[in-house]
């Protein structure tokens, strides 16, 4: 069973659903320590006062918000935590929206919800009702001293929760000042590109993609631990600027052969 990182309650209307929160993702990255190249000794970080040049113990460190260059308003961690909101262990679903209306760009971090103590019936009910109505519940969640906007949805047999990016955190396409071509793509170009998309169309199989870089890092580490020296490959770059229609035609004849 997965370890839970938060226990609490979801409510919708007067229905109370006890839940446990689990992380939906796990980190498989290869992690390195910083070491001194000369002697291979671990690097230690020290907090030093820029005024006195002396090491500062953690309990003497405050958080400073810079209001003007070099001028800080000092806050303790407790004072920053006061902004979190009610630490109520409660996620109140304020409204439901159609799942299809939410652009995935809003979804930030993903979590899974498990049924909490004595909450199995209510959990199942919320899951099945969300799945049947094809809706997503929107609410607020205070986690790690911060309030998040969250979406609760049915995913397979379980409930998933996502923290959501606020609208004012997202860049709009209008802000990008995209250039317009002197003429729109021709009918023939759209048709050929459509064929090319069709020929490359397949089902989404996430397992088909592996983290090749992570594997190569592991191989490098193994080779070096045996005392081998790695080789250096070279770069190749495709050229920019082209005849669009000719490139589409060549792609299509290539994909048919």
């Amino acid at each position: 069973m997965l370890r839970s990182i938060w226990n609490g309650t979801i409510t919708f209307g007067l229905t109370v659903v006890p839940i446990k929160v689990h992380s939906a993702t796990e980190d498989h990255g290869v992690h390195f320590h910083q070491v001194h190249a000369k002697d291979g000794a671990r690097i230690k970080q020290r907090r030093v006062c820029s005024e006195e040049g002396k090491e500062v113990p953690y309990k003497e460190v405050a958080k400073g918000y810079e209001v003007r260059s070099g001028e800080y308003v000092l806050l303790s961690q407790d004072e920053i935590n006061a902004a979190a909101g009610e630490q109520s262990h409660l996620i109140e679903i304020e409204e439901f929206v159609c799942a299809a209306e939410i652009d995935p760009v809003h979804y930030d971090h993903g979590y899974y919800l498990g049924a909490g103590d004595d909450g199995q019936d209510a959990y199942r009910l919320l899951h099945d009702a969300l799945a049947k109505a094809e809706r997503v519940g929107i609410g607020r969640w205070v986690f790690h001293n911060r309030e998040y906007l969250v979406a609760v949805r049915a995913l397979d047999d379980a409930l998933a929760l996502h923290t959501m990016r606020f609208a004012d955190e997202l860049v709009a396409a209008d802000d990008l000042d995209l250039p317009t071509p002197s003429r729109a793509p021709s009918k023939r170009e759209v048709q050929m590109a459509g064929q090319l998309v069709d020929s490359l169309h397949n089902d989404f199989k996430p397992q088909a993609f592996e983290d090749g870089y992570r594997e190569r890092v592991q191989q490098l580490i193994e080779a070096k631990s045996r005392g081998e020296e790695p080789e250096l490959p070279e770069d190749a770059e495709p050229a920019g600027g082209m005849d669009l229609e000719a490139a589409l035609e060549a792609s299509l004849s290539g994909s048919r052969s």
Binding site: K38, D156, L178, A184, L252
Partner: protein, 280 residues
């Protein structure tokens, strides 16, 4: 315009579109510096060698991987660069998928792709790809390398532009079957309960209007900073009570529906609080 984080080529068959990657998320968070409380001077982080007890300059720092037996393998920046894939400046579209088939649990960081070349062919190719994907509601999957890491990415159409979202690899996403989702038959809701819950959801449904939701944490943090600047003291609020589960699901649903019809939904949090309190 936003600063580009990466420039390269989006390759689609033999069509190459020069593109720049810009973040689709802006950082609006409050950032704090570490300050020495005593003299209000900023804290600097210095790197020391644990063996020699001297400060170590950046160029003398390298990476080490710790082996299970306690030994370590030293790996340099150059060696890490050498194992990056050959075509590091390319996003190769490997396949197209139906956007609806890709669960958002795989989505990581969103970016926009913007045309990076001025020639008309490249700009038209960008427009063409945007148009074709929006017509078919399909997205492209490919890989690219940024900052010494290989990413799987999904490229799709959004608001007339191409967006790229880095994706989590399949083995980084946990299986939902490992979650205790109370799937035993005994927990299955009755048809009456399910219909009532769906009715509550439909009553509480509205259009998704993301602009309506403001970051209250950010707003409160701003007030805390402002008040502290004026020399006021800040009190930490006490924890509120957590409601206990309703023993009768059907009664809770029926009462909710009744109150929704009377337009009394605002009273829920108070009512739940009262019910959670021990009887006196």
């Amino acid at each position: 315009m936003a600063r580009s984080l990466w420039t390269g080529t989006l390759s689609f068959g033999l069509v190459n579109v020069p593109v720049a990657l810009v973040s689709a998320v802006r950082d609006v968070d409050f950032h704090f510096h570490q300050i020495h409380e005593k003299d209000a001077a900023p804290i600097e982080v210095q790197r020391f060698c644990s063996e020699e007890d001297v400060e170590v300059p950046w160029e003398e720092i390298t990476h080490a991987y710790e082996l299970k037996d306690g030994g370590q393998v030293i790996v340099s920046d150059l060696e890490l660069q050498a194992i990056e894939p050959r075509r590091t400046r390319t996003i190769d579209i490997e396949q197209f998928v139906d956007l609806a088939d890709v669960d958002p649990i795989y989505f990581d960081h969103p970016y926009f792709l913007v045309p990076a070349a001025e020639d008309d062919g490249s700009i038209r190719a960008y427009r063409l790809l945007t148009e074709v994907m929006s017509q078919t509601d399909r997205a492209a999957l490919g890989r690219f390398v940024m900052r010494a890491k290989e990413y799987m990415a999904i490229v799709r159409h959004r608001e007339g532009a191409l967006t790229l979202t880095t994706m989590r690899f399949a083995d980084e996403v946990r299986a939902t079957k490992d979650v205790d989702a109370a799937t035993q038959k005994s927990h299955k809701p009755t048809k009456k309960q399910l219909d009532a819950a769906v009715a509550v959801i439909e009553e509480l449904s509205c259009e998704w209007e993301p602009e309506k939701f403001k970051d209250r944490y950010r707003a409160r943090l701003k007030r805390v900073v402002d008040r502290k600047r004026k020399g006021e003291t800040i009190k930490v609020p006490e924890a509120a009570q957590t409601p206990s589960p309703a023993p009768d699901l059907m009664a809770a649903l029926e009462q909710t529906l009744e109150q929704l019809q009377k337009g009394e939904s605002a009273r829920w949090s108070q009512q739940r609080e009262r019910e959670a309190e021990p009887a006196t």
